[in-house]
C-alpha cells in the first residue's frame, strides 16, 4: 500500500515530474505561447477577477441569486400534500411547541425575564436564521459541484443564494412571531419598525459568515461534521433560552471579562436588538431603563426564585457600555463579517471546482 503523502508542487504521487510553468516544456510551445497570448490580448481562463470586477459580475448575477433561492424554497415542499403552506406551518408549529411547554405546562417560569414565552420564541427564531445559514453554507460548494463544473459565474453567488433562502424562511417565521407577540399582550408600537434595520444587519452578518463557512467547508470536509456542535455551544452562550442580563448582573464583579465577552457576542447583540424592538417588556426591563437602585437590582439578580420577585427590576441596574451601544456594535459586526467573509471566499475563487 502506498503511503498517503501529499505531493509537493512540481512532483505528483505517481512520480511524474511536472515542468514548472516558467521553463519551456519538452516539445511544443513553452514560453513562446505565453508571448503569443500576450500579443493578441488573451487572458488566462481560470483567473480570479479583481475584486471590483468580481463585485460587478456578482451584481449582474443578482437576479440569478434571488431566482435560485426562490426556486430552492419552492422545491423544498413540492412533495408535501399541503405544499407551500409548510413555509408558514413550520415556524408556526415551532412556536407552538414552545407555547405548549412554557405557556401551558410550565406557566409561571420567569428566569428573571418578563414574558418569558415571547422572549424565548424571538430568541429561537432569530438565532435559527444564523444557525441554519452557517450549516447550509458549509455544504454549498460540495452540494453544487456539478453546477460549478458546468457553468462560469462568480462562485460567491452560491453561498449568497443560500443566505437568501434562509432569509426568506426567517421572514415568514417573523410574520408568525408578530402574531404571537400581539397575542402575548405586547403593544404594537413604532419600535417595531426597528426590526427592519436589525434584521438587515443580521443578514449582512450572516452573509459574511456564510461566505466564510462556504470556503472552510469546501476546503476542510470535516468542518460540516463539527459545525452542529459549535452551533449548539454558540446557542447556549447567546442568551437564547436565558437572560444574558442576569448573568452579567450576577458575575460582573468577579468575571468582568467573561460577562463582556458574553454581551459582545454578535448573536446575543442581534437577538437583543430584535427583542427590544418587538417586546415592550424587554425595553422596560433593559439595564438602565430606570434610575439606578442597587438594592432592587441586587434583589432581581440573586433572588429570582422568590415569589415576590419582580422580573422587570433589572431596569434598576446600571447599564453597561455594551447595552447602550447595541446598534453600533451590531453594525460593526455586520460590516466586519461581510468584508472579511467576502475577501476570504474570493481569495480561493478559482479552486472551488476542483473538489
Amino acid at each position: 500500500m502506498r503511503s498517503s503523502r501529499v505531493s509537493t508542487p512540481g512532483q505528483l504521487l505517481d512520480g511524474t515530474v511536472v515542468p514548472s510553468p516558467d521553463e519551456p516544456g519538452p516539445g511544443q510551445g513553452g514560453g513562446s505561447l505565453a508571448a503569443l497570448a500576450a500579443q493578441y490580448g488573451l487572458t488566462p481562463s481560470a483567473q480570479r477577477a479583481p475584486i471590483g470586477k468580481y463585485l460587478r459580475e456578482l451584481g449582474h448575477r443578482w437576479s440569478f441569486i434571488m431566482g435560485f433561492a426562490t426556486a430552492r424554497n419552492i422545491a423544498m415542499y413540492t412533495e408535501a400534500k399541503l405544499g407551500q403552506l409548510w413555509q408558514v406551518l413550520a415556524p408556526l408549529l415551532n412556536a407552538g411547541v414552545y407555547f405548549l411547554i412554557f405557556g401551558v405546562i410550565i406557566k409561571n417560569v420567569s428566569r428573571g425575564v418578563p414574558d418569558y414565552l415571547a422572549f424565548l420564541v424571538t430568541g429561537v427564531f432569530v438565532f435559527s436564521f444564523t444557525q441554519r445559514t452557517f450549516i447550509s453554507t458549509s455544504k454549498v460548494i460540495t452540494d453544487s459541484l456539478p453546477l460549478i463544473r458546468a457553468l462560469q459565474f462568480p462562485r460567491a453567488s452560491l453561498p449568497l443564494a443560500y443566505v437568501m433562502i434562509e432569509l426568506q424562511q426567517m421572514l415568514l417565521s417573523m410574520a408568525v412571531l408578530f402574531v404571537l407577540v400581539l397575542f402575548r399582550a405586547e403593544p404594537l408600537t413604532w419600535h417595531w419598525l426597528l426590526v427592519v434595520p436589525a434584521l438587515a444587519l443580521l443578514t449582512m452578518f450572516n452573509a459574511g459568515i456564510g461566505l466564510f463557512a462556504a470556503r472552510t467547508g469546501a476546503r476542510v470536509n470535516d468542518f460540516a461534521q463539527l459545525l452542529p456542535f459549535l452551533m449548539r455551544t454558540w446557542l447556549y452562550v447567546s442568551g437564547v433560552i436565558y437572560s444574558v442580563q442576569q448573568v452579567v448582573a450576577q458575575h460582573a464583579q468577579h468575571f468582568g471579562w467573561a460577562t463582556t465577552l458574553l454581551q459582545v457576542n454578535p448573536a446575543a447583540i442581534y437577538i437583543t436588538l430584535v427583542r427590544n424592538s418587538l417586546l415592550n417588556s424587554q425595553r422596560e426591563s433593559a439595564f438602565g431603563a430606570k434610575p439606578y437602585d442597587a438594592a432592587k437590582c441586587k434583589a432581581w439578580a440573586f433572588n429570582s426564585t422568590y415569589a415576590d420577585h419582580n422580573p422587570k427590576a433589572s431596569a434598576y441596574c446600571h447599564s453597561t457600555f455594551i447595552s447602550t451601544h447595541l446598534w453600533q456594535l451590531g453594525a460593526g459586526w455586520a460590516v466586519v463579517a461581510l468584508l472579511f467573509g467576502f475577501w476570504f471566499f474570493w481569495r480561493k475563487e478559482v479552486f472551488y471546482g476542483r473538489g
Binding site: 501529499v6 505565453a34 449582474h60 437576479s63 435560485f68 453546477l147 458546468a150 473538489g355
Partner: protein, 271 residues
Amino acid sequence: MAEPTVIVDGLHVVYRVYGAGGDRGTASTALFRIIGRKTRPAIREVHAIKGMSFVAYRGDAIGIIGRNGSGKSTLLRAIAGLLPPEHGTVYTTCDASLLGVNAALLEDLTGERNVRLGCLAMGMTKKEINAKYDGIVDFSGVGEFINYPMKTYSSGMGSRLRFAIAAAKDYEILLIDEALATGDAEFRVKSHARIDELRNRAGTVFLVAHDLEEVEETCNRVIWLDAGKIVEQGEDVIGIIDKYLEASGGEKVTRDPVTRKRISAPEPATT
C-alpha cells in the same frame, strides 16, 4: 496568420479524490492514521491531463477524440475555466462556455421555472429571458408539459428541454461535450441544425464526440488524446481518425480512394 482564440500552454490538470481506497475506511484505521501522524485521509490524485499545448484560431472547429477517460471532458472544462490547472495556463479571448445547463435545473420544479432558472444561470437578464422564452418552449416541443414538474417528463422530453435552454444563448467560444444525439429522430435533425447555427456564429468550436463521422463532417482539425496526452493533432482529420481507429481496435472504415469519403459503414457482425 489567423487570430488565436484559445491557447493551451503546458496544461496539467489533477483531480483529488478523498477516501478512495488507501485504507478500509473504518474508525480504527482512521485512529491509526492520526497516531501515525499521517495528517490527511487517503487522497488519491488523478492526473487527468499531463502536459498539453496547442493553439486554436478563429473559425476553427476542433474535434477531440480518444477513449473513455483519456481526458477529453476535463480538457473542455479546463478551457472553460471551470477546473483550475495544476500547472500551465489556458488563455482565451473571452469566456468560453460549455453547452449545457443540466446542473442548474431542479427536477421538482415546472418546466417553465426551469427555463427561467437555467437562463439566469447562463447569465441572461430577465428581459432577454422574456424575449427568448417562447422560442425555447417551441423548440423543445414539450408542449403543455411545460407547466408540469420536470420529474414527470420522459427522459427524451427532459433532454430536449435541457438542450433547448442551453442552445438559447450565443457563444463566442463554444464547447460541446457529446450527447447531442438525444431525443427522437425529428428532434435530432432539429438539434443538429441548431448546433450548426451556433457553430457558424461562434468564433471557435470544440467538439467532443465518440461519433467519429460527425467529427469528420464538421471539424477542420482534430486532436487525438490518450491517457491525458496528445497523441496526434492536425488538419488531416481523416488520416488521424483512421490511425485512431486502428490503434483502438475499432472497425475499419472503407473509403473511396480518391475523395476519401466513407463509402458505407459495414454492417456490424451479428453474433
